[in-house]
């Protein structure tokens, strides 16, 4: 099933972090529409929960060195 994840990070300061996070999340299986909001410090993406999970995605971001403060998952209509 398709779901939408929103991860709240600490504030981002370098525009290159953005490319980094976007690239890494995009490479995960079943993930589409990755959007990193630089100023709001949020990562939004659609994902297929049969291929990956919210925990896995937040793990990817954490591994890049960014603390994930809050994760919200919503079902896509």
């Amino acid at each position: 099933m398709s779901k939408k994840i929103t991860m709240q990070l600490d504030q981002l300061t370098c525009p290159s972090c953005l490319t980094k996070i976007e690239g890494a999340v995009k490479q995960q299986p079943g993930v589409s529409n990755v959007k990193v909001l630089f100023n709001a410090g949020k990562v939004k993406a659609d994902f297929d929960d049969s291929q990956t999970s919210a925990d896995q995605l937040s793990d990817v971001v954490t591994k890049l060195g960014y603390e994930v403060k809050k994760v919200r998952v919503k079902d896509n209509e």
Partner: protein
């Protein structure tokens, strides 16, 4: 992984440690004359400050991005190899310290949005069916749940009051800070503050679906929606950074000067250029958001600043959309008495003209409801007659008068045609078979609008156009009153779209301003669609700029703000390019090296951020009150 997180969290401390080591190093060289200690401390400083930079460079490389950190990393390793420990120490320290200052100042430019999001409540008091109360996270609320809110609390859901009453401050959704009375059955919005009272609310929208959540999402997205300049710079930076690497390599190979090559790496950092444009937009959009002006991103800001033609919808935009008593002339009797008798008669009908008159009587605090009424009769297409407190009162149009054989004097006929020329609807009142008053009723023009439109012209608008479905007479009158340049009346919604397109074809940049109720097509067609008043969801989606309050003062501010923001962006781009040129010249002339180059870079980044910060307070003395109120709200919220 732990190591990396630890580094991220302690970068500030690492920066401080490296600063201390640098000071110690120089002290030991010049005061103690101990060159070995100097070398060791500076090498240590380079490593301490270098680790976070190396880490970032490595992570970026793993996702195939050549980052600024990579340039710095290579330069620092190069400096190490040739034993220039002082250069490497100062470069790494300045890079980290610069980042630290950027973070602090950047946070300031984001503050306006942050203060908005901080108004969003995080917990709610859920009332269970058995009356018990439980404190829950707002995310756990469902539609249909009942929550309670006490004085000073913020409302956690969009919903309807089922019990209790109070005053709500709706600044968060309307930008207008004033207490609105809320009783059972009234709608309330998430993020607004219950300044007084106690209410129970049944949720109709929760979480991300609430109006407030949508506003926040819109503003957050807006800040990251890039302007053309930004998109260009992003693309540029993507090739620029690798290009610097290549150039440094070529310089190194050609000149056989290793130090020159690594200096080029440091000087080539795009620094201020990548941050200059976004920071202006963030500050500008934040400034608007604080005043209930939602600009959907940098490109909207850009286009809006270029607008030369404003097209307005009349009803509900230039006018209030509510009919009201616009003018009156009273003959013989006392004005209040005439209005009182008229209102008594009009209270019998539901006609919009009648309501305008009873409203006028209410406003004048006239008690007409207690008057005794007999023999009332409504004549369709003419008006009403009745006997009120012993007087025979006829209120209606000229046909009603003719039917009762009442003649207008020459003077009265003159007044009548004057009133008609304004496009108003007319009610003539005869008391005891004599004309007592003529009332002109019209959709009233917004107060102070003429000055606000003049202000818009002063700010750079060339052409003001009004499009309306109303008749030509009314339209022309309103246009004359307001100093509108061009008027088209009797239009259907699709005709409005045609006009907007026509203006665009003539090469103008068009902003369409409407209330969004039936003009969404025009909002979408215009270069910039501006929805006024909180409007409908559709209007918010199709428009480029949303004014949460129906105010032309807000429109003036938004227009000037867009121009200021774009100017600010240009200034920042100019500063960044000038810095790069200066560094290049300095390098050729031989007075710039790695450390000094890094210093100039970091300084220029701070300069562009400070320049953008001027936007945050732009127009502050105009509306000190609004922002103070918002600030107060925030303070109350964060205190909890």
């Amino acid at each position: 992984m732990k190591f990396q997180l630890w580094i991220e969290k302690h970068t500030t401390q690492l920066t401080a440690v490296s600063a201390i080591l640098i000071v110690l190093g120089y002290a030991s060289k010049y005061l103690l004359n101990a060159p070995l200690v100097y070398t060791i401390t500076l090498a240590a400083a380079s490593i301490v400050a270098g680790v976070p930079i190396f880490l970032h460079a490595y992570q970026a490389l793993r996702v195939k991005v050549i980052s600024i950190e990579l340039l710095v990393t290579i330069a620092v390793i190069g400096a190490f190899i040739i034993g220039e420990y002082n250069e490497s120490a100062i470069v790494t320290f300045l890079f980290l310290f610069g980042n630290f200052l950027e973070q602090k100042t950047f946070a300031k430019t984001r503050q306006s949005i942050k203060s908005l999001t901080e108004m969003a409540p995080t917990s709610a008091e859920l009332v269970h069916d058995d009356g018990t109360i439980e404190e829950v996270d707002v995310d756990d609320l469902d539609v249909g749940d009942v929550v309670q809110v006490k004085t000073g609390g913020s409302i956690p859901v969009d919903g309807e009051i089922v019990d209790g009453q109070g005053y709500a401050d709706e600044a968060a959704v309307t930008g207008e800070s004033r207490a609105v009375t809320k009783n059972a059955g009234d709608k309330v919005f998430s993020g607004t503050l219950l300044s007084d009272g106690y209410v129970k609310i049944k949720a109709t929208k929760v979480g991300d679906d609430t109006t407030f959540a949508k506003i926040i999402e819109l503003v957050e997205d807006a800040q990251d929606t890039k302007s053309h300049a930004e998109k260009f710079i992003d693309r540029f930076a993507k090739y620029y950074t690798p290009a610097v690497l290549v150039i440094a390599l070529i310089v190194g190979l050609v000149s056989r000067d290793f130090k020159l090559a690594i200096t080029v790496l440091v000087l080539g950092c795009p620094g201020a250029l990548v941050i200059g444009a976004p920071v202006s937009n963030v500050a500008g959009i934040g400034n608007g958001a604080k005043r209930g002006i939602l600009v959907k991103g940098g490109s909207s800001m850009d286009t809006f600043s270029k607008v030369d033609t404003f097209v307005f919808d009349k009803t509900g935009t230039l006018t209030t959309g509510k009919t009201a008593l616009a003018d009156s002339k009273v003959y013989g009797s006392d004005a209040n008495e005439a209005l009182q008798l008229t209102a008594a008669v009009e209270a019998l009908s539901d006609h919009p003209l009648g309501r305008a008159l009873t409203q006028a009587a209410d406003d004048a605090h006239l008690d007409y409801k207690a008057l005794a009424i007999e023999n009332s009769s409504t004549i369709k297409g003419q008006g009403i007659t009745a006997t009120v407190a012993g007087h025979t009162v006829c209120a209606g149009n000229h046909r009603l008068l003719e039917a009762h054989d009442i003649q207008l004097s020459a003077e009265q006929a003159e007044t009548l045609s004057q009133f008609q020329a304004t496009g108003s609807s007319i009610v003539i009142v005869a008391i005891d078979a004599k004309v007592a008053a003529i009332y002109a009723i019209a959709d009233t023009i917004r107060e102070g609008l003429k000055d606000e439109l003049a202000e818009l012209k002063k700010a750079g608008a060339k052409h003001l156009v009004m499009l309306t479905g109303d008749n030509a007479q009314t339209a022309n009158y309103v246009a004359d009153q307001l100093g509108i340049d061009e008027v088209h009346a009797d239009l259907l919604p699709q005709d409005k779209v045609t006009f907007v397109k026509q203006f665009e074809d003539e090469g103008r940049t068009v902003a369409f301003v409407g209330d969004g109720i039936n003009d969404s097509p025009s909002l979408a067609t215009a270069d910039i669609g501006i929805a006024m008043g909180s409007g409908t969801d559709v209007a918010i989606e199709t428009s480029d700029i949303v004014l949460m309050q129906s105010s032309f003062a807000a429109l003036d501010h938004a227009y000037k703000l867009a121009k200021k923001t774009v100017l600010n962006t240009r200034e920042n781009i100019f500063i960044s390019i000038a810095v790069v040129a200066f560094l290049l010249l300095g390098l050729i002339a031989g007075f710039i090296y790695m450390a000094s180059g890094m210093f100039v870079h970091e300084a220029s980044i701070l300069v562009v951020i400070f320049n953008a910060m001027r936007l945050i307070n732009y127009g502050k003395h105009d509306d000190k009150k609004i922002s103070e109120n918002v600030a107060n709200l925030t303070a109350v919220n964060s205190a909890k």
